[in-house]
Symmetry: D2
Subunit: 426 residues, 4 copies
């Protein structure tokens, strides 16, 4: 369905041909300062037309808060967000001999929507169009605002591969970037500002970014398309998030990411490469947590004393787990990869078969992205924010409920040295 | 939480130290013939102790139907399934100087459960133990029974990599198995019986299976562990399943698979490799669907005439999409990979830090799997069945509701040749 | 939360001070002909200002479909509905010495919203204002359209009491109207057109309506307010609706009705009066169902042959059950009462205590309904439609799933005469 | 479905003919001391056979905790509860010429279950039997334990009418008990111990109880049955509970109560009688909250200083609202009525029609309650506990999330005197 989240519940709506697209955010904490200016920046980052590499439509995508705030403060009631559809040009999609109407576009959603619903929108991709992601990004911006203010959470995504150009190519010795010091340093400090210095590709390395730009341009010129991978890091995430056994945090992140159009895969922490590593190497030994995290030393996060006090006392020496163990966050950086296929809509002629079972040739007109990776960056960030926000509220309910119970004399039969500690944590 | 699914809703319970583990299945269609003998085979396939390669505990894992059926037929009421905990040996987990109680086990869930809940089970992994998956497999067997009887659905998983031994190793030219004819032939015909001929590894290729067996034995002898990948195929799945925009079928599959303990990644269809392939190659052109599918030609599926009539009229020439387009099934084989990390519990001594923030050495006693991949096979199948079952019921509600509406004169402005068809499909 | 329904899922938003109010309807069957003209009539019936008895604001309440349809047909994607807030006059609520801001209004939601959210909207009732019901009525109109077209369902509500003036006053002999022939005749044939002949009170009896009108006028003149009861009947509802054990149809109806602002009670069928009647009288004996229902004989319902064939073969001689037995519909008329308290906002001065714990006098300015019953009529109808629609889709999923299973030789050991029949119904 | 609650989620299972009945409770706070002895008392209160007035079966109904606790403390994982079915006597239900199998029992669920599911349980009521309520009572006892320990909540239900014998009969002057001082005094102090002094009827007034006992005996002797009303009070409920707009607390209570078998109506606070009262009388003026509540003065509630500090600073002089305003609790006593119809199963012969559409006579054997009211008392209490518990956790999540936000300079434009206060409450 079009609802995501149990506690911070987002319902989105909208196709490209309708009056507007948008969402309702239900369950947002009251008392949060929120205006359109908190939401618009990510809307603009998502917007096409930021460079010659992305589709040149100039969608304004101005977001309006329709309800749920007053005097710039959230009321606790549903927040409704709305973005007008301004630049439709339906002819581009259906025009040119109308053959786009006779053929379901290969690897697009035309055929399956018709199989599912029996009807389909005439123009563009209807609900399967990229325009659907506007509601996600708008809602994600609200979640991010809360997480940043209340927990110092930072979420940054970037392009880590385009086609076969990798920022951290896997090797036989290092099948996963999880133990690559350069990767770990990058995710420890990278910011959105830094990522956007590498527009339009958003890969935070001059050399690799240049090569990726060339790859994309090459595919654009061939009227072809290419896929790639977005990597995302979540810093300062509270420990204890994730709801086993079915709603483990990586399961929710995977759900969220694989719901983004054009995704093909999801990896948490060491990922598929980590499956090739011995357990003795892969296990993340515990160490005493430092008083100041690297992010704080870098001046990225500013935590209140209370936030600091909620920090776990142990952390891990390595981080193959990607900040999640047993489906629950441990306070270390959460990082993951999301793979996006090459866009299905290409300028080249394609041999295929029509609704009437007759073979023929389909040639798309319109404006098409040769690569969605750069635009996917804020969408990945938004979905990450929605997952973390929902998990924060679930854990808040639990912690708050438990905090009202009397302290137990000793909860579990732990070794002598640990017992004091555990009582203290009651 | 411990509930999965909206329509076919499974709630599981149980730790290794309690009286029993099990589940409640709510929403199962009434009138389905169901006894314990439909469920037990997958319970037994999941059971440890099937060979020297897996943990030697002899858990009987006999399932009992507590409620929801009468005279071997489902009543439509909740079905309760229960498996006794018989072979606990809690000393194995806590013994040996009790140091396992003083240290949170690295990359296990001890620390995060304590961070989350403030208490944790003393013996084994509590709710994070592999024993939690019993409820999943039991519920999955019911879903499978329905899907097989009503739709001819076949779900088969197998081991496709252990460590760096791959059944279909990715190459520079073929970054994904999706276009490898040997892979496509395998998933078109492989059965559970065939997979179990390759016990204990469950990789359906004599040569590769042998190598994998050696790899696992090597890690066992080093008191180390190793990960790998399970591949799963779903055949004869009805078209139209999946609930955009957030509950696309691959999103639900990803959610389900990443909720299985020890998973690190999920790929649908061409997966991460597919992100390196040009769109012009990756797109799956449509072709007229054959009267008989390969599975039927192989005698695997026996469909009723009614099932046959619900088949889509088009299929795709290639299948990089993995049977899902726009988040919705198109009737082609669904296939995906699930990566499992090396088990966290290893016999080797590990330097780590205790609950009391003191460094020390942890050495696990107990019985430990050097590799979970073979046992994960039926768990992956079970979760796949739960996802498809839920999606089938969601789509049933939609289709059935739509079927009562009058036929529209013409629903969408399609090209002339297609319009007749689409009216016909109303 | 602000979401209602599992299958036909409605999320509403909006306060009186924001840009707009509205809703998203997710899960509506595709292929339904739907334009604003299907929705507007109930919006207009809900609108204040229809007579001297109701509040004189002239809200236009024009509804716009923002997304989810094309060419007047639903696409299966979320339907977004929006109504501008046009006529705010915030001064009326906050004005007059501002004392309305210093005092939480007695029996209104000011105090509890502040207790819950820590903030509250300044003008009017914020989310607790009657304007919140616009989204319900809009969504309900879509549900009604589907139910009418697909199942011939008719939902009609009317005013059955105002203060102590009852359409069917309970008596010692007849503590419930359920056995009153005049009541049964009324609910069998009453239509919305008929009810609206008795505007502004909407009690379909000239004499009683007149008395009620006088009661309301009397309270209006005293700057006081009065409550009453709305009775609602649902005809031609399919049998088999309702999801035991927790989501029985009467439980869902009760939930829906008691979520309407100002409600104090809900009764199904014979209701509280029925609790005073002996079981031997209260039990509804079964009889063979007639070929034509009274509603059809009255020319109210026109069913297709297929709808007719889905009719239960038995019905009940009496209908104390109100069409629901064991939480499941039996095909007979569903009827229920909803009690509404006197509106909390009255013109009279009230002694009360302020936010600062100081006693004082509160005198509301603004425009206030002396009685909400007449305007509540379309809101009750809307919520009834949402409940039935959700239950229809739940049951569709079940029936459709079961219909694909092979017929069992004999499902339950029934008496000899009945056994044939039950096989036939498999 | 068979799941209730979003945060404290209860899934029940079980028919009378199966191995066991029970439930899974997901989301219970960890660290709560819990053993079977916390649950058994309410199981026993629910048990039939407590006197000659109720059904004489001696069901032992011993509850076992299967999972979710260790060393008598909840772990935060799902708690599974199980009660064996011991005393089935299926012949009683189906025996005696088997005519009970040929006829759907009037006003029972036989017919509608068959309409819904196409199959039905052979013995007793299957899932519609009163045995289904065991899972509710068991789960409710856990919720109650938490609410009592963490919030001092007290939930007490009692019989307030049987047939036409009322504890507080409505009069023309006092159509509702809400303003009756005797009623208010009773709900302020009544305890379960006091209620059980009036076994088997559970009406806490010697005179009325005696009359009720006679009424029930009279109906038993006539092989007939009679209904009645259970009144329930919830004391010390935190303010701020309830989730507008659809999940107002009274809507959730109504949903919960109307899901109990045999219920016909629900009233909150002044109820239907309150709809006859002028607004000027019905409005509950605010007063400063006393330092000690009447319950505390009576020595019933013992609150911690922290619980005391969470008390609202205002309360209401009268309590027509029943402790809920705008769908949200205000801290005053919550009270409500639940109407139960006369049991459908009676010993008298009934003229009715069989599954084969043939008229005939049905005469039940078996053991039947002439009145369910006394046994319904603990079921009403259990469902009340489940509703409040779920609402407490929802509000915990909200409050806890909001508490991490910086204090706003001034949230709403309130009158001067109130503004300081409101800042303070941020």
């Amino acid at each position: 369905m079009s609802t995501f989240g149990q506690y911070f519940r987002v319902s989105t709506y909208g196709e490209s041909h309708g009056r507007s697209v948008g969402c309702i955010v239900d369950g947002c904490p009251s008392g949060l300062q929120l205006t359109e200016s908190d939401i618009q920046p990510q809307m603009t980052r998502r917007r096409p037309g930021q460079s010659a590499l992305t589709t040149p439509r100039d969608e304004k995508d101005r977001v309006a808060i329709e309800a749920g705030t007053e005097f710039g403060v959230t009321l606790g009631s549903p927040i409704a967000l709305r973005v007008m559809n301004e630049d439709q040009r339906p002819k581009d999609y259906g025009g040119g001999g109308k053959n786009i109407d006779a053929f379901p576009r290969p690897s697009h959603a035309d055929w399956t929507y018709l199989e599912k619903y029996g009807v389909k929108a005439s123009s563009g991709g209807g609900r399967s169009s990229a325009r659907e992601t506007i509601g996600r990004v708008a809602a994600g911006a609200i979640a991010e605002k809360y997480l940043r203010v209340a927990h110092g959470v930072e979420i940054v995504a970037f392009t880590s591969s385009v086609g076969s150009e990798f920022l951290f190519p896997p090797t036989r010795e290092h099948p996963t970037a999880a133990n690559n010091p350069a990767f770990l340093e990058l995710i420890d400090g990278v910011t959105r500002e830094r990522v956007d210095e590498f527009l339009p590709v958003r890969c935070p390395d001059s050399t690799v970014c240049k090569r990726m730009e060339e790859v994309i341009a090459e595919f654009r010129d061939k009227q072809d398309s290419i896929g790639g991978v977005v990597t995302c890091v979540i810093r300062n995430c509270p420990s204890g998030l994730g709801e086993p056994c079915f709603d483990k945090l990586e399961a929710m992140l995977g759900h969220a990411m694989l719901s983004i159009p054009a995704t093909k895969g999801f990896e948490i922490g060491s990922g598929f490469g980590g499956c090739e590593v011995p357990g003795s190497t892969h296990n993340d030994a515990f160490v005493k947590a430092p008083a100041v995290t690297p992010a704080e030393a870098n001046g990225i996060a500013q935590l209140t004393p209370e936030q600091r006090s909620r920090r776990p006392r142990l952390t891990t020496k390595t981080n193959n787990s990607g900040g999640i163990q047993g489906g629950i966050t441990n306070g270390a950086h959460i990082y993951f990869n999301v793979g996006f296929k090459p866009p299905a809509t290409i300028g080249q002629a394609q041999q295929t078969t029509g609704y009437d079972e007759t073979e023929g040739t389909l040639q798309a007109k319109g404006r098409h992205d040769p690569c969605v990776i750069p635009r996917a960056v804020p969408i990945v960030e938004a979905m990450a924010a929605l997952v973390v926000m929902d998990a924060v509220m679930a854990q808040s309910a639990r912690q708050s409920a438990r905090s009202l119970l009397p302290v137990l004399p000793q909860t579990v039969p732990v070794g002598e040295s640990a017992s004091t500690l555990m009582n203290g944590r009651q």
